[in-house]
Symmetry: C2
Subunit: 200 residues, 2 copies
Amino acid sequence: MPKISDEKRAARRAQILEAAWGCFQKEGLHATTMDDIIRASGLSAGAVYSYFPSKDQLIMAAVTASLSGLTSLVEPLLRAEPALAPPELVRRITDTIDRFTTRDGYDLKRIALLGWSEAQRSEPLKATMKSFYFDFRSELASAVARWRRHKSDTTGNPESDVAATLLSLVLGYVVQSAILDDVEPEGVTRGLERLTQPKG
Amino acid sequence: MPKISDEKRAARRAQILEAAWGCFQKEGLHATTMDDIIRASGLSAGAVYSYFPSKDQLIMAAVTASLSGLTSLVEPLLRAEPALAPPELVRRITDTIDRFTTRDGYDLKRIALLGWSEAQRSEPLKATMKSFYFDFRSELASAVARWRRHKSDTTGNPESDVAATLLSLVLGYVVQSAILDDVEPEGVTRGLERLTQPKG
């Protein structure tokens, strides 16, 4: 077989993952077969299996690729200087999620729900997600800590509580969006602003 | 067949659903067979099929039963007079979810994730969930409206935004708890309190 460049390998890998996400949304993780994905990818069976020897490996790669793709977009928000206020942070993170997950023919938010479900049965998948969400939450805590220092607010509860609250908000936004189809970053952010500026 | 009382029917139905939830947590919705559930229930195949003619009907019943069981516990919180402040509402709802979902041998929070996933492929299931979460969100909005009147706060954004934010928080709590295993109502509530009482 002729050698192909790293760039071409990455493009083919992405092409297979795109095909897999489309099939997963249509059929679910379990009913989707490698043959379905091969057909949808337009590549040969040999080519697809050379990248992903099993469906489990493909599922893991599909989850990892979506989590790390999202991370690269969200990290600059979490590390912004000066730190963003929590409502603004939520607005920009959910907005980024919306833009990153809405694709031609499928929505990665719906596929996230399939992934969480699968993680209940697959230890390696659960471990991968756990490590991603732990990191995300700890970056959220740092962002909150920097924002509080900026506001000269060092009293009270640890940042980790606020980070757990914000992570719930973001994860719940994904669920609400996938199931109810009618939420928007603006609405959830206005709601948080309303809560954070109570008029007595 | 001898007639059995309504009470006994309800108890048997609950016994079958208990068995189903246990199997679903162990094997997932798809790998679980009616035979698995029959075995776990300790009832005859005829008895189980007389309550639930198909696995799809059983899945629907398992979801509906858990949603309506939770509703009956959460409604008094949403309708409390005077209305609970949002952080207290979140604390008591997530606490209720924790107590309702933690069972002998399985956790309904994990099974909720399986249900959301299945709803991506089953329209009737998605419609059932949609209607439940819409109702929940609109009750949240009423609770917030009553709380704001109580606080003489009638300015600014509509309650529906706050309700969408609170629903995200609650749904995200379920995800975070099922995947990360380490959140508690107290932590998420302290985080929200911290956000709602910023020190300038």
